[in-house]
Amino acid sequence: MKYLKTLLASALALAVSAPVAMAEWQPRKPVEFIIMAGTGGGADQIARLLQGLIEQKGLSSRPFIPINKPGGSGAEALRYMQDKAGDDHTVMMTLNSFYTTPIIQEDLGVDVTQFTPIGLMAMDTFLLWVHTDREDITDLDSYVAAVKGAGLDWKVGGTGSGQEDSVLTAMMEAAFDYEVTYIPFPGGGTVAKNLIGKQIDSTVNNPSEQLAFYEAGDSKPLVQFTGERMAAFPDVPTARELGVDIEYYMQRSVNGPPGMSAEAVEFYTDLFQTLFDSAEWQEFCVSDGLTCDGMLKGGDLASFHASQVEAHKKLIAQVGAGAITGE
């Protein structure tokens, strides 16, 4: 009975969407869904959820194939997209390294403001995590004391030099006047695993990356770097509440390569708008501490990107590119 219902529902969904979709541009071959980060991380989880929803809802006549290109803090993915200019069958799930990597690596020859904006799916958040066994660390003050005590023996795990978590780590180093050893891993999931295995001492993972371990009681959040406390973490103070001026978010937007055709842009924008409005996506946003108030797209998203690039240029100049790349 249950299968029958699912079958009927999917048939119905097809019947409703098909006639409308027929008239418009449709992909003619599988769409490469590039992820500029490693497997198991926040961007990866989101892209794979979206891919599944696309298939489940029959939104595309051709499948979306997720491909991870984490090399060089996303440089590999950015370069790949640049080389795909004018291609209508490649889209990319981005994170803040979309802004930071081209700033830090000037030789890359990539200008992200030339990319085709499609839709901003969510703003992700950061928390500061330590292992539950660190009983000496209960709040930000005891954390800072522990880091200062350990000096360079304090190991912070992250997803790569120039990635957003290294920016945030550099911001914290500047704010608290300490120095740590930053170790890059290939993805947020691996970072989380290494915190639980005590290979590193702390990390600034996104909620989705730590949630499974947090629920199992293996890790604990100390601070959230948001404007207000998230519904998912009502007892964790924000940095602002503690008098530390750090507020930092991660954008999770989908973009195409430069020069994508207008028809294709329309198709992808509609597709991601449908996904954004779906109950499944909105539920995921709540459970994983994402902010999803409305999807930015087109010109709005382009100017958002432009302002973020400027903001990150300032940020990097402030903390110094060396602090981020660890040189």
């Binding site: 299968y3 699912t6 079958l7 999917s10 599988p30 497997t39 198991g40 990866d44 989880q45 892209a47 794979r48 959820l49 891919q51 599944g52 929803l53 298939e55 489940q56 029959g58 499948p63 979306f64 194939i65 997720p66 991870n68 090399g71 060089g72 440089a75 590999e76 370069r79 790949y80 080389d83 990597t101 830090i104 690596q105 030789d107 890359l108 190991k155 790569g160 030099s161 120039g162 050893t181 930053y182 170790i183 890059p184 290939p186 999931g189 691996t190 695993k193 290494n194 639980i196 295995g197 290979q199 590193i200 949630l211 499974a212 371990f213 629920e215 199992a216 790349t325 660890g326 040189e327």
Partner: protein
């Protein structure tokens, strides 16, 4: 113990539900063909077939995808043996001895060995999975960068013995592979490096399949053409019930190898960083090093087919462990499985075992059943697979050339890689001509990036102190084993030479 038996019983019952059983069967069959097609890897296969899974409940869905993954793991062996092209990185080591066996007219024996070894590997590892999943998950967490690097050193050490007598040439080949592995972006700073002749395309690195298909597809073909002047007939194999029984009776010869490869494969597979490719390569290397007749490897030794096949199937089961318990997929294919799980509302992590025992144990139960289905299907299909070899050389060779082109283009979608493959194939042919072993170079391009990353992570965290590898018990053990493995073949060589000198056989 009793708990496990009850849970497993329930899981097995679940696997035998008609819908689930059908999913296993269809999954294995589809996987077999997807794996056997060079260029159409299990990643694309699983991604394309993902929609099928939305019509059935989550447990049936993951059973289907896992069966597909299983089938593909064996399918890779089929193209490795019959065509000499590894369809996926996991099947590279199978080429080493599988291809020579096919050329000697023993393709059916090689395929039987692959099927049986895969079955044993899969079964041993699923038993280990059943009994020790939670403690192994804890052990996997102990694996930091230092341990990962020590494991990679161990993998390289097993290959020192692979080059036969010529250890300097083996080391040269490994270094060549490492240089190719370094092309692309620096993994720590993200700066482009080793971009030869400023080809922008090289920023994406040299793909493993580009090298493997180049060396084994193109290089091997050129070598065969030169040696035989095009007059070879690859022996057609007659596959009868009698020969089948005879092939099965050979199982005893490679049983110890298979058991060892299975345990090794499972263990390496459970480590999030490694996966099936290093597992199969290490298994091959170890088997050769400790064989009574190491010289017969690479020339069609059936143990050389059984060892990597047992290990890669065992590892594919093993890699489910970090995915389920830690949410970290060990391979691109398990990453797609992970995506599926998120859609079905299952969050992989330490709690999945307790929150959704029906799902986890249903999956484990299905692995037992999938093993039986795969081995039955494979053995039944061998007569069809060996037909490929009945084709005259003049027809088969052009087909292999075309498959090489298509396989490379399909995976990377750029002509640059096709030209690169041709160039590397030519290089591989020259290396073969000059008597350099090529397998270590292939190993190095697979393991190089993993080794480099863990080495640099370790050294950052110890602030440049190399003693860090010898201060941690697990990494120290791996390092000492590696040292022993490196010295062993050298010592054997010296002893053999001395024995030769005293008996005066000059």
């Amino acid at each position: 113990m009793l708990d496990i038996a009850t849970l497993l019983g329930a899981g097995l019952l679940q696997a035998f539900e008609p819908l689930n059983l059908m999913m296993i069967f269809v999954g294995c069959l589809a996987g077999l063909f997807i794996g056997a097609m060079p260029g159409l890897g299990s990643v694309n296969g699983v991604a394309i077939l993902l929609p099928v899974t939305f019509l059935v409940p989550p447990t049936a869905a993951i059973i289907f995808l896992a069966a597909l993954y299983y089938g593909a793991m064996y399918g890779g062996a089929v193209s490795s043996i019959t065509l000499g092209i590894p369809g996926a990185s996991t099947a590279v080591a199978t080429v080493f001895d599988g291809r020579p066996m096919a050329q000697q007219g023993k393709a059916d024996q090689a395929l039987t060995a692959a099927a049986v070894a895969s079955f044993i590997g899969g079964t041993i590892s699923v038993v280990l999975f059943t009994l020790f999943a939670p403690p192994l998950a804890v052990f996997a967490l102990k694996f930091g960068p230092q341990e990962e690097f020590a494991l990679m050193v161990l993998a390289f050490a097993t290959f020192i013995g692979l080059g036969g007598d010529d250890i300097p040439k083996t080391i040269f080949s490994i270094l060549l592979g490492l240089v190719m592995a370094a092309v692309g972006f620096d993994i720590i700073s993200g700066q482009p490096r080793m971009i030869f002749f400023d080809f922008v395309e090289l920023q994406r690195g040299i793909g493993f399949l580009v090298l493997a298909i180049g060396i084994y597809g193109i290089g091997e073909m050129l070598w065969t053409l030169e040696n035989t002047k095009g007059e070879v007939r690859i022996h057609a194999v007659s596959s009868t019930w009698k020969s089948f029984k005879k092939n099965l009776s050979h199982v005893r010869e490679y049983l110890p190898t298979t058991a060892l490869g299975s345990a090794l494969g499972f263990f390496v597979g459970t480590l999030p960083a490694a996966g099936a490719t290093p597992a199969s390569l290490m298994s091959y290397g170890l088997t050769k090093t400790f064989a009574k007749d190491p010289d017969s490897f690479g020339k069609g030794n059936v143990s050389g087919v059984a060892a990597p096949e047992a290990a890669n199937n065992a590892a594919s089961t093993g890699s489910m462990l970090p995915m389920i318990t830690l949410g970290i997929p060990g391979s691109p294919t398990t990453a797609i499985l992970l995506g599926g799980m998120i859609i079905w509302g299952l969050r992989p992590g330490p709690l999945l075992f307790t929150d959704r025992p029906d799902f986890v144990w249903g999956l484990i139960g299905s692995m037992y059943v999938a093993n039986f289905v795969t081995v039955a299907l494979n053995l039944a299909l061998i007569p069809i697979f060996v037909r490929v070899l009945a084709m005259p050389f003049t027809i088969l060779t052009p087909i292999i050339f075309i498959l090489c082109f298509v396989g490379v283009f399909a995976t990377t979608d750029r002509m640059f890689d096709v030209w690169l493959m041709l160039l590397l194939g030519l290089g591989g042919y020259l290396m073969r001509k000059l008597n350099y072993p090529v397998a270590p170079a292939v190993l190095a391009i697979v393991l190089g990036p993993l080794a480099e990353r863990s080495l640099r992570q370790s050294l950052i965290s110890s602030r440049g102190d190399v003693m860090t590898f010898f201060e941690r018990p697990i990494s120290l053990t791996c390092m000492l084993l590696a040292l022993a493995l490196m010295i062993y073949p050298i010592w054997l060589n010296v002893r053999r030479r001395r024995a030769g000198a005293t008996s005066g056989t000059e």
